[in-house]
């Protein structure tokens, strides 16, 4: 047992050897630590819950368990044998399978084919399909979970919940191959199920327990408490607690997820000025088909509104549609009382809106172009005389911002892709600041992947901007960061605004308070 783990209920492991034992897994991506010592174990016929905030390391951990990522250090033991997974197929052969949130079934194949894909065994002899055998073997798997789905159905014709069951059956199919009970990883399995479907799934998990071990990952704490025998809490890439549901409640779990109040001074809360009276952006009834449902939002001048919500809550889509990157309908969206028609990002930029995307490398920057070229890309007319580029002016402007934001780069003409993440992000921010007319900046996880120093600089910049009257819509991984930076927090759940919480300087709400509305 890892001494670092704060064991809420000192549950001593009974004599049963674990099916799956993970010890001290560590993983660093380029500049961030994704896993910083994760230790947990799953015993036979046990349902283990795994919870943690966004970015706590849940998904990295799951990836490692099915071989989609490799740990830098630490071990994974399956039935007492140390294993190194090299991919889903190999993990399946070892008896560990994952039910993906975005499902991993091939839509245009039949259910039977999907269940046995790549592991048909005697159902394919000499390259020839024996359909009867294939159907029979697939039926065996579906019978295990008591499902009535037809093995001949085309996978894409099934409902989401049914496809999830097919995935479970697919994982169970490893049972015959390994002659052992499989470990089933369920990644946020209830996130897109309705209440009835969720109940069906829970019944299914109970049934699974008789022939498998289950790891249940969810951010819905009530569900985790209901189905799990034990719960592990992940925080900042570490297992910080192991609990037994009977002994803890949701509030305790939430506290464990967020940790002690770390609110450091690097948010510069005292620099948060009150927002101005004038409304800058007024959104009424914004609807993105299937994702956001009649969102209302007022954003004042100089105000930061943080949007909290779990994945799938619709907050990304809300922001993207305001920037014109996603089609939406609305009763009205106005900037300074005038209708805002953001048909495209280009139109939004012309209306003085800026956007810093979460996926910096894909959407935020052109890595093969220079720092200067990236900085001037959205407002290239500022450095043009008529149709002609004024390179000297461009260079001067870029150098000015490189200096003001202290972007560490060999020169303005260095390729942006060659800089560190923090400096890339500052360049991406700079491209919106070069325009004096910037009125609204949408920040989609602006500090993702940055080290502490770079994060602090981004926070400083947000404070400077709001002092100048720029309005900011902010999304962040950590609630602590979101609350510290925002004047108000808009909590979204299932595509709707759940509540709006004031967060004035000096009277910030507790992260727990916000989390309650999210999950």
């Amino acid at each position: 047992m890892n001494p670092d783990i704060e064991t809420v209920e000192a549950e001593q492991s009974p004599g049963v050897p674990p099916v799956l034992a993970v010890r001290d897994l560590r993983k660093r991506f380029a500049e961030t630590t994704a896993l910083d010592g994760v230790t947990f174990e799953v015993r036979p016929h046990e349902v283990v819950g795994l919870i943690g905030e966004n970015g706590a390391g849940k998904s990295t951990l799951l990836k490692m368990l099915v071989g989609l990522a490799r740990p830098d250090s630490g071990t994974i033991e399956l039935r007492g044998r140390r294993v190194k997974m090299r991919g889903i197929a190999q993990a399946g052969a070892a008896g560990i399978g994952m039910v993906f949130q975005e499902q991993s079934l091939i839509p245009n194949l039949t259910v039977a084919e999907n269940i046995l894909l790549g592991a048909e065994g005697p159902a394919v002899v000499g390259g020839l399909y024996r359909w009867r055998e294939l159907r029979r073997r697939a039926q065996v798997q579906l019978d295990k979970i008591g499902s009535e789905i037809s093995v001949d159905a085309l996978t894409e014709s099934l409902s989401f919940a049914d496809r999830q069951l097919v995935e479970v059956a697919k994982v169970l199919a490893t049972e015959e191959r390994t002659n052992a009970e499989p470990v089933v990883l369920l990644d946020e399995p209830t996130s897109v199920l309705d209440r009835d479907e969720t109940e069906v799934l829970f019944a299914q998990i109970e049934r699974l327990r008789t022939r498998a071990s289950v790891v249940f990952v969810s951010h819905r704490l009530d569900e985790v408490l209901r189905v799990s025998d034990r719960v592990y809490v992940l925080r900042n890439g570490r297992t910080v607690a192991e609990c037994v549901p009977g002994d803890v409640d949701e509030a305790t779990l939430r506290k464990l997820m967020i940790g002690r109040d770390l609110a450091g001074s690097h948010y510069d809360e005292e620099r948060q000025l009150p927002a101005r009276e004038a409304v800058r952006l007024a959104v009424r009834g914004l609807t993105v088909k299937g994702v956001c449902d009649h969102i209302d939002l007022d954003l004042h001048e100089g105000e930061v509104v943080g949007i909290a919500g779990v994945q799938g809550s619709g907050r990304e889509e809300l922001c993207r549609s305001l920037f014109g990157a996603l089609a939406s309908r609305s009763e009205s969206v106005t900037m300074h009382g005038r209708p805002l028609n953001a048909r495209s990002p280009r139109a939004a930029i012309a209306s003085d809106i800026g956007y810093v995307p979460a996926e910096r490398r894909r959407e935020g920057m052109v890595g093969s172009m220079s720092v200067a070229e990236n900085i001037t890309l959205p407002h290239i007319s500022e450095v043009c005389a008529g149709p002609l580029l004024q390179r000297r002016k461009e260079r001067a402007l870029a150098e000015e911002w490189i200096e003001r934001l202290r972007i560490r780069t060999p020169s303005a003409s260095a390729q942006l892709g060659s800089l560190s993440g923090g400096n890339q992000q500052k360049a991406v921010l700079a491209r919106w600041l070069v325009s004096d007319s910037l009125r609204l900046l949408i920040l989609d996880h602006p500090t993702r992947g940055l080290d502490v120093g770079a994060k602090t600089e981004v926070y400083q910049l947000i404070r400077d901007l709001t002092a100048d009257g720029v309005s900011v819509l902010l999304m962040a991984d950590s609630l602590e960061e979101l609350i510290a930076m925002s004047h108000r927090v808009l909590v979204m759940k299932d595509g709707r605004v759940a509540e709006i919480i004031d967060a004035p300087a000096g009277a910030k709400p507790a992260p727990l308070r916000v989390l309650e509305g999210m999950v």
Binding site: F29, A30, F100, E363, G364, L377, L388, R431
Partner: protein
């Protein structure tokens, strides 16, 4: 979280070393074509010293002109990451149209045909961008359509051009006997070079070709730039068709059809990546010269011209294999 996200993490991990790799790749793509060209010229000059005489140099350059004009335009489409397979067929159509219209319109036939071709490009570009259909497919369909138009308009026969209307495309000027076509092509290339160097156009082309989502999110005029690339490509094809009519004194529905592969070969051999985002007019000049000199070299070496197609085929595959940016293609279809 999707399965794709999960696998995506791998590519993100590889970012560090890839950058130096991409720098090395870019250097290679810049230096290699020039070395190849120099080596080819040297080899031919050794085999046949007459090759370096002014007169034969002018002849070689002259013969490169239609390819150069076609490649200049098609390069823009490749730069944004698409491809235009219709250029050769458009040039053929232009040759037929100009031959048919010169009797009625005289010299005005030239701009009219170029405009008609540009409109054809506009149609292709608009379908590609608005309906979001892959460019190779739209232009493959275009290839068939424009061939059909050329066949129909010409009745599947060669249409002779008499008179002096197009003489300016195929004559010699000045004390040095410079072919007029070379001067025209040089002027066109100069326009391309100036526009790319002094306006934001190159910025847009490169950003779209390297990272279209980033270009979109930065508000670059993605739709307009992509459509414009197709328009210019088609207009250049039309102009190249007219230049060909000047040489053969006739228009024919399949006159330029065999040029498609040399055009693509020239662009990629010059170092422009078929995946987009990297390349330019200078590289295209080098590529066109390589293809042209190679053709001369083959005949100097006594290789039968029937082998030419095989060479183009091998060359295109080899050049694409060497210049392609595989980091941009997680799954190659």
């Amino acid at each position: 979280m999707s399965v794709t996200d999960k696998t995506g993490a791998f590519s993100r991990l590889g970012d560090g070393p890839r950058l130096t790799q991409s720098a090395r790749r870019q250097l290679l793509l810049t230096v290699m074509p020039v070395i190849v060209l120099a080596a080819l010229v040297a080899a031919i000059a050794i085999a046949n010293p007459n090759f370096l005489r002014a007169s034969s140099i002018w002849t070689v350059l002259d013969s490169a002109v239609p390819l150069m004009i076609l490649a200049s335009g098609a390069m823009l489409v490749i730069l944004v990451g698409g491809i235009d397979l219709s250029v050769a067929s458009l040039a053929s159509m232009a040759s037929v149209l100009v031959a048919l219209w010169i009797p009625a319109l005289g010299g005005w036939a030239v701009p009219v045909v170029i405009i008609v071709c540009a409109l054809a490009g506009l149609l292709q570009g608009a379908i590609h961008v608005v309906a979001q259909v892959p460019s190779f497919l739209v232009t493959l369909g275009g290839l068939a359509v424009w061939s059909g138009v050329a066949l129909l308009a010409s009745g599947a026969s060669t249409i002779p051009v008499s008179g002096t209307t197009l003489d300016w495309t195929f004559t010699r000027v000045g004390a040095w006997n410079v072919p007029s076509a070379v001067l025209i092509a040089a002027a066109l290339v100069a326009v391309f070079a100036l526009v790319l160097a002094f306006t934001p156009v190159r910025r847009w082309l490169i950003s779209i070709g390297s990272s279209e989502p980033a270009a979109l999110m930065a508000g670059a005029p993605v739709t307009q730039t992509k459509i414009a690339a197709f328009v210019v490509s088609a207009a250049c094809a039309g102009f190249a068709g007219i230049m060909l009519v000047g040489r053969t004194f006739s228009g024919a529905p399949t006159l330029a059809d065999s040029l498609l592969l040399p055009v693509v070969a020239a662009i990629v051999v010059g170092g422009t990546a078929i995946t987009g985002g990297f390349g330019g007019i200078g590289r295209t000049i080098v590529g066109v010269l390589i293809i042209t000199v190679l053709r001369v070299g083959l005949s100097v070496a006594g290789v039968d011209s029937s082998y030419e197609q095989i060479f183009y085929g091998v060359l295109v595959i080899a050049a694409v294999a060497m210049t392609i940016d595989r980091s941009k293609l997680p799954f190659v279809k």
